[in-house]
Symmetry: C2
Amino acid sequence: MPTRRLAAEQLNKIRALAAFSPDALSSIAYANQEIYLGLVVAGAAGLAYSWPIALAIVGLLAVLALSYAQTIPAYPSGGGSYTVARENLGSTLGLIAAAALLIDYTLTAAVSLTAGVAAIASAFPELWPHRVTLSLVLLVVIALANLRGLRESGTLMAIPVYFFLISYLGMLAVGAVRAMLEGPSSLAAAAPPPTAPLTTFLLMHTFASGCTALTGVEAISNGVPAFREPQIKNAVRTLGVMAVLMGLLFVASIGLTQYFAAIAGPQETILSALARRIVGHGAAYIAVQAGTLAVLAVAANTSFAGFPRLASVLARDRYLPHQFAHLGDRLVYSNGMGVLAALTGVLIVIFSGDSHALIPLFAVGVFLAFTLSQAGMVVHWIRARGPGWRTKATINGLGALTTATALLIIGVSKFLEGAWIVMLLIPVMMLGFHAVRNHYREVARELTLKGLPPSLKPMPQPRVVLPVSGVHRGVVEALRYARSISDRVTAVYVETQPGDADRIRREWESWGQGVPLVVVQSPYRSIIGPFLDFLDETDREHNDGTLATVIMPEFVPARWWQNLLHNQTAWLLRLALTFRRHRQGQVRAIVDVPYHLRE
Amino acid sequence: MPTRRLAAEQLNKIRALAAFSPDALSSIAYANQEIYLGLVVAGAAGLAYSWPIALAIVGLLAVLALSYAQTIPAYPSGGGSYTVARENLGSTLGLIAAAALLIDYTLTAAVSLTAGVAAIASAFPELWPHRVTLSLVLLVVIALANLRGLRESGTLMAIPVYFFLISYLGMLAVGAVRAMLEGPSSLAAAAPPPTAPLTTFLLMHTFASGCTALTGVEAISNGVPAFREPQIKNAVRTLGVMAVLMGLLFVASIGLTQYFAAIAGPQETILSALARRIVGHGAAYIAVQAGTLAVLAVAANTSFAGFPRLASVLARDRYLPHQFAHLGDRLVYSNGMGVLAALTGVLIVIFSGDSHALIPLFAVGVFLAFTLSQAGMVVHWIRARGPGWRTKATINGLGALTTATALLIIGVSKFLEGAWIVMLLIPVMMLGFHAVRNHYREVARELTLKGLPPSLKPMPQPRVVLPVSGVHRGVVEALRYARSISDRVTAVYVETQPGDADRIRREWESWGQGVPLVVVQSPYRSIIGPFLDFLDETDREHNDGTLATVIMPEFVPARWWQNLLHNQTAWLLRLALTFRRHRQGQVRAIVDVPYHLRE
């Protein structure tokens, strides 16, 4: 696709909502589950706190949405928390935000896929033991869909997102009607007996897990350039719609769960239990579970949009390898997607496809990035001092304060369960960022032509060494090529069976084109070691500041499988040469001279 | 290790028995299991046939052992069924035997490992769900032990083999004493109710499965060259000892199983049930199970000796890629072992680590090879007509007849259960053998120097194309190298962002050493496609029967991880060039000119 068609790839609001909101909307699935699992251990008394905790989280959501609505017009070129933190708080805090975001994109994909599979396995219990496999299959499907390009993803992803919204809102509506007709159920009667006391720590812990409901709020502010014009207005409006939907789905689900005193079985999610309670076991129930799976699967798409985008920004700033910066032929960031898919797959396998086990790692990074981003916005307004800057700074300051408080609660209450992994990983990633940047800076310094005399002395013809395994047409052609590039050619034969060299020497008389043949003995039947020793020796003898060029005669067979029948020694020799030139700190040119086999 | 030390690597009889008999001795484990599983469906009436079936199989064993004892002096250089069948029955039947043997070596490894794991998982039921993983771990351990060399294997393997023999014979002795003291138990009381009628087909089917007890009898005749002098005498004696041990272990186990009416639980082997019946649950029971696991694990060793040996013979006859013919530096056939390990791993995974599922594939190949080998020996004696040739031919004829009968029974009764896979695989493998041989013959014809004039016209200097990504020291050095091998150099820059080329052109003025720079437009931001198109075009224009040589400037960083930061485009370009030169049926030399980065 030509560069000029880039603009046409941008998204309208309907598609943008489908592309950027699934993470935010679908997080109710695992957040509800976490709140339920956190409180059920304290029995009915614990579960009675579902509603207050949900309200606290929705309060957080309102603050965050307002905060991010201010970020969009201030930073219309995207980049999100990393850009905001870097520009206003300096590169170190910016990189902390970037590391946190990269981790979170990966965890979003892993948690969404595993939670989605749990939703459908709640409906079909025979799938429960195969959750890891199913999650991995879904991951591959999503990754391939994304590699096909952003617009196709937009269309492809819109259907399941709206299917989820309709089926889920429908269920909630039915639930509201039934709630009015039937009245509340008794939690005390339904809840299992408590196995842990109801402590402040338990409530904090549950609140911390429930905060994962807010993941994805920032996605739109990272992706403003993907919106159609007027970009800012469209992005802010989409953010507003998304936040209202998130809040509605979350409080309505939690409220109905508590009102109906829904309790989940051992191989079931709490949302599945709620859906069963409201619409029974039939097609409507299956539709809700399938919709939940669909939106969660699509939520991984947020990561497949965000991760490569952020990696590309970091790569352009030279903190990541520059292949992450390249747009592929199809306008997608293929390398970033590949890395994301691989990391997500590893997480799914390590954590046995269990989203509950992944959550403690998840929340830390999200709230770290939130806090840094909001704090950066406060500095931004103080510096910019545009109209109404005090109000704007206050709103973002409130956002920073609340997310920092949540971060503290999460860090303390989840530390041993996995938050420590992320706290350890972030400094390690920062070391990596700096190592990459230092290396590129050093290479640029080494490669500069400043100080080099423009008229360099021409290089003399290279010394050329040709390993021969026998005397045949392939070798004769390689020898002709060698002589065409240099007058200083030596052929080398490694003798592994005593006496073999005599025949080779005789044949070389006729076919050697006057090039000297050196025979190297190999009492241990290895070909590669003695040949490398010969190279070292001849380089030492000449001592002209260069290493001899090696010609690698290679057979190119007519059919692919015939490669298995040729060139093994050549491949091993090439591998050995690659390592050898590293070790010596010197470089050696290698020439592949192929001989084409017709059959 | 120098070639002259090869002789010292040969094995004495104690070690040879340990190296070549484990397959034969250990096959009682799965053969007993198959006889039990085959008959138990018919209840007590079925299990009463255990003893007659065992006797029939021991009769077969006696005939086979006598037959193979005649093969050893006739073919002291090894090669077994393949050599014998090929020399006496022609190459087609020889290759059938070879294909059958390669399949059987692989199945021996897979069946032995899975049966061994079943033995230890009978003692520790918590291991039962992890049989696949355990089998794979064992496979890796055995493969690595073998890659360390034959002699080390001999010593390493002798300990578990003799541990098994002592513990198992001890258990049988205790069993014999208890049998005399206690008298027989009632099968009718112990056996579960029949679920299938006792038919002739069921007995044939069970006999066919039980015949797997005979696997491994041929191993010694394949491996005569590994014995110490006097090789033939030592090999024949070792075969005799092995056959007597096999028969003793087999009939004694089956006899005691029936005498004590031992019945296995659902997650237990019949040998485990027998051992529990005789020695209880204590240390002695664990020792027997561990010994069974040990000898079965070591049985895979028979394959790791036999498979690479046969592959090497086939490779020397040019039916397999010649890398199977090479002795590695450590006197082991590493390539053959690698292939065997990979195939075995695949079988274990596909068949879920269940030896019972693998057995139907196993027996066909074994008896096919037996029959061809014995039939070949008959022809051998008729042709040789040495002293006593009539007796010898009769013995081998009897062997051929009985094994052919068994083969027929196995083929018919096991066809649908998996024997068909082997029957299909053998012709496929033969096609492969012939394809390899034809290819090598054709290549030899193409490579011959006959008819080529000894004084060839020298090749002109190659046209050289140097792709440049920018103007820096690395490119300047690559350009100097290019000019040192040819006066016909062209540099090519692919412009992905309109306008970039202007800067490159200006810099090239100063640093281009007078070499022309061609700028190629890339509206789609791909670098590789336009560059390949340029190559095609320049080759068409020159039309001199050669393709331009491509110089690949390459960074060699100081530390390995820095490779991730460089050369991606170069690698992709090289990959594309490799495929392109295949498609065109023409060849292109590629020169890697590395630039060493100091940091």
